[in-house]
Structures are given as C-alpha cells and as structure tokens.
C-alpha cells in the first residue's frame, strides 16, 4: 500500500515535468505544425544559463527566472530567425514534407554543439532548492521528498498561469485563434506572425523550467534532456498533439505509468515501457485521449 502511494506520488512529480515539455511541444505544433525537436536543445541552453546564475548566486529561483527568460528569448529567436526563413524558401520536391522536421533536428544538434563548446561535456549539478530526503511516515521513509513537493507546486503554478493566460486574456485568445485559423485571425486584425513568435517564446520559457526542474535532482550535460524530449513527445501524442489539457493529462499518466515500471519491474524496462505506450497509443488511439472522433490528417 505504501509502495503504491509513493509510486503514484513520485509518478506525479516526474509526470509534471514531462507535462511542461509536452506542453511546449504542443504549443509549437499548434501554431506552426512542426514537432520542434530543437525544444530539447533550447531547454538545454536555457538550463545551462540558469545553472550559471544559480551556482553563482546560490539562489535556485534566480537561476530558474533566468532560465525562463533565456528560454523565451531563444524560443522567439528560433521562430524569428530560423523558422520564418525556412518557410519563406518555398519548398517543393521530395524533401518538402520532411524539411521542417529535419531542420529542427539540425537545430537541436547545433544548439547542443554550442553548449558543448562553451560548457564541455562533464556533468554539472545545481543545488536543489529543497531537501531531497524523503518524508518519514511513522517508522518508514518514502522516497517522496520536499523537492518533489516543490516540483509539483512549481509546475502547478505555471500551468495555472498558462491556463489563465490562454482562457482569460486577449493574448491567449490571439494565440488560440492564430493556431486554429490563422487566416481568420489575421482578418480580425491579429498580427499572426508576431503572435506565433510569442507562442514560441512561451514554449521556450516553459521548456526552460522543465530543464531546471529535471536538473534539480539530476545532472546536467549537453545530452541530459534527450529523454525528457522523448517522454514529452510521448505525452503529447497521448494527449493527441493538439490539446494542451490532453498533453498534461498524458504526461501525468505517463509519469505514473513509468514510475510503476521502475518500482515494480525494473529500471531496464522504463524506456521500453514508454516506447510501447507510444506505439500502442499510435496504433489504437492515434488521435489521443482527447479526440472527439475527428480523423487525423497529415
């Protein structure tokens, strides 16, 4: 019973970080129709910047703030200087369909190499903002710690902020309208290109938080966020790639599911478990759990 409880709790903590990455992917997908694999690279760069600030000031939250700002700037920059150029070159021919995806992959490689050139490959770590020692219930200590609580709280705060922004503000309405129907949005007077760049900035900032939170209990290297990207993608697919709420639910389900595998079966099967979930969802419910009977187009 106690093991079940701690599995669920840890699962929620892990899943909440996946939620941020999958949200970032969904935000960009909705506005640009590209799965932005560079999101992991952007998050890595932001996290390194956050790491520098956090380790110099010895204040984790200051590092987090800088990671958000850096993530937003990098995200906006990628859209403004990179995606716009890519889409401007009217692409046709055999590579047309795959070009944007490949381009974001190239960007992932580029950012990661730059990070490697600046900071090198050795593992870095950031002092956690809260204790990693598990809580003690009665006689026993469970692995769920104050840090996990803090992670869940931080993610919840960000999700609430995003929900309010998207549902209650004009910026949120512009973002949604531009994603659903760019032409109508433009006819309504929305500067859709600028709105899209703002969307990329939000996604970048959210990705930066995900990177910092992972790094609060794990080491940081140019490659350390690869798995986060993969699990974020799987979570987004579970949610149907279009739905922000769905991606958060998908992430929590995935986080809890993978923690179950970790605690009850073994470390070696965690990744395979995630991959199997991905394949099963794609084959059985390709539109994700939020689908309302619409069919997916390419």
């Amino acid at each position: 019973m106690q093991k079940l409880l701690e599995t669920v709790l840890i699962g929620i903590s892990t899943g909440s970080i996946y939620a941020l990455m999958s949200l970032a992917l969904v935000l960009v997908w909705r506005s640009t129709r590209v799965v932005n694999f560079a999101q992991a690279g952007q998050a890595t760069l932001s996290t390194y910047i956050g790491f520098e600030i956090a380790s110099r000031s010895e204040i984790f939250w200051l590092g987090l703030a800088f990671a958000i700002i850096a993530g937003a700037l990098v995200g906006a920059g990628v859209d403004y200087f990179f995606m716009r150029v890519l889409f401007k070159h009217a692409i046709s021919g055999p590579a047309a369909v795959v070009a944007p995806v490949i381009a974001t992959l190239g960007l992932l490689g580029l950012i990661r190499s730059i990070v490697g050139l600046i900071w090198g490959g050795e593992f870095k770590s950031i002092a956690a903002p809260a204790s990693k020692d598990g809580f003690t219930i009665g006689q026993t200590t469970i692995p769920f710690s104050a840090l996990n609580v803090l992670i869940i709280a931080t993610v919840s705060l960000i999700l609430i902020t995003l929900a309010i922004t998207f549902q209650r503000t004009n910026l949120g309405l512009s973002l949604r309208a531009s994603a659903y129907a760019p032409e109508i949005a433009q006819l309504a007077g929305i500067r859709t290109a600028r709105t899209r760049t703002i969307g990329w900035a939000i996604a970048g900032g959210v990705g930066g938080v995900a990177g910092m939170l992972v790094t609060s209990y794990n080491f940081l290297s140019p490659y350390s966020l690869d798995l986060l990207l993969v699990f974020g993608f799987i979570a987004a697919v579970i949610g149907g790639l279009e739905s922000m709420v769905g991606s958060v639910i998908g992430a929590l389900v995935l986080g809890i599911g993978l923690t179950f595998i970790l605690n009850y079966i073994g470390t070696s099967l965690v990744f395979i478990g995630g991959f199997v979930v991905l394949i099963v969802v794609l084959l059985v419910k390709p539109d994700g759990i939020m689908a309302r009977g619409k069919t997916r187009r390419a």
Binding site: L173, R176, A177, Y180, Q186, A188, G189, I190, R191
Partner: protein, 237 residues
Amino acid sequence: MSGLLVNELSVSHGAIAALRGISFSVQVGQLAAVIGSNGAGKTTLLRALSGLNKASSGSAQWNKSEILGARPDALVRRGISHVSEGKSVIPELSVRENLVLGGIWRSDKSDTNAAITEVVELFPILGQRMSQSANTLSGGERQMLAIGRALVSRPRLILLDEPSLGLAPIVIEQIFATLDQLRRKLGLTIVLVEQNAMSALEIADTGIIINLGEVVASGKASELINDPALRAAYLGY
C-alpha cells in the same frame, strides 16, 4: 472621390491570371454587388483588397490612400473588414470569443464591449448563444456571427464573400435585410460578392459583373437587373 477606387487590378496564381485589370469604384455609403459565376475571380478580388492575396499590378484606394500591399491586420486598423468565404468563424472558440476577436487589435476593451452589445442588438440570437462553442451554431447563425465579428471592429468598409452560400432562402433574406440596414443606418460601404445575383442586385446600389477575371458590365444595380442581354448572358434567368 472618397470611397473605394479600384484601378486595373491584376492578380495571378502562379502562371494563371485570376484577375486581369479590374476597375470599378464604390462611393462611401453604397453597397456594390460583385456578380459572377464560379471561378470568375470574385473571391480573388476580395482577397486582394483585404491583403490576403498579392496583386501583381494595379492599384486600389480606400478614401484616397493605397491599400494594396498592406497586410490584412493593418487594413483592419484602417477600417476595412473582410468576411471571408464559407462562414468565417472559428468553431473551436465560443461565440463571445469570436466576437471579442473582432476588436482584439484595439487597446480599449470597453469599446469592444460596446460594439459587441450593438452586434447582439442586431442579431439577438447571438446573445442567447454567447457562451456556446461556435461549432454548435446553425449555418445562418454562423454567418451572422462572422458578420458580427467584422462589425465589432467598427469598419467603414466591409468586404463580404458569399454570405448566402448554403443558407435557406428565408435566412438569406434576413441577412440581406441586415446588410441593407447597416448601410442605411451606419453609412457603411459594402462590397458584396455573390452568385445569388438577383437578391444581391435588389439591395445593391451598383452592380459589377465579372467573368473570367474581367469586368464585363457595371452600372446601377436597377439598370443591370433590367438589361435583358445581361440577364441572359450572366445572370442566368
């Protein structure tokens, strides 16, 4: 002349010329009906005027300033609203959100709210559906919502693309009556693109008949209706 002045406007899609040197004018406060069959270039004309399509040559002036080459979002700020083909609402958003969208470029929120109230007076049915998703509306209600959204931006010139498409005759009548009223009460200038030639010309001040990207006839709507040659050739009855 103040109003809309289109001169030798040409648009091409790749190698195909969709519009070849279209010229016409619409005075402020008048309703011009652009009539033509499928593929005549009516939609392309509106899309060029609202900035969605690039013109290859020619000019178009609204109140003496050039509008070709400006982006749609900039033209909205200059009082030009385009209700695009096929009930241009966003089904994923609520009715209220669709309406708010019309005034989203404005910094003054209260003005938008006032404009929404006016739209609801014009189309009371929308008032009952405010928090519903636009997805749940009927075809006629969607068209009202699309026009309503355009009105929230308080335009001086409205470009309307086939508002009658797929609607029941009684609903078409209602919408056209509203357009008529808008022109009379608010002094709006309206360019109405229609295949439904008869109903459109009945409320229009002027008519412009285009075929294969060229203006084949234009003049007072009442005269066009009564021209037997035109009726036979282009109006189809």
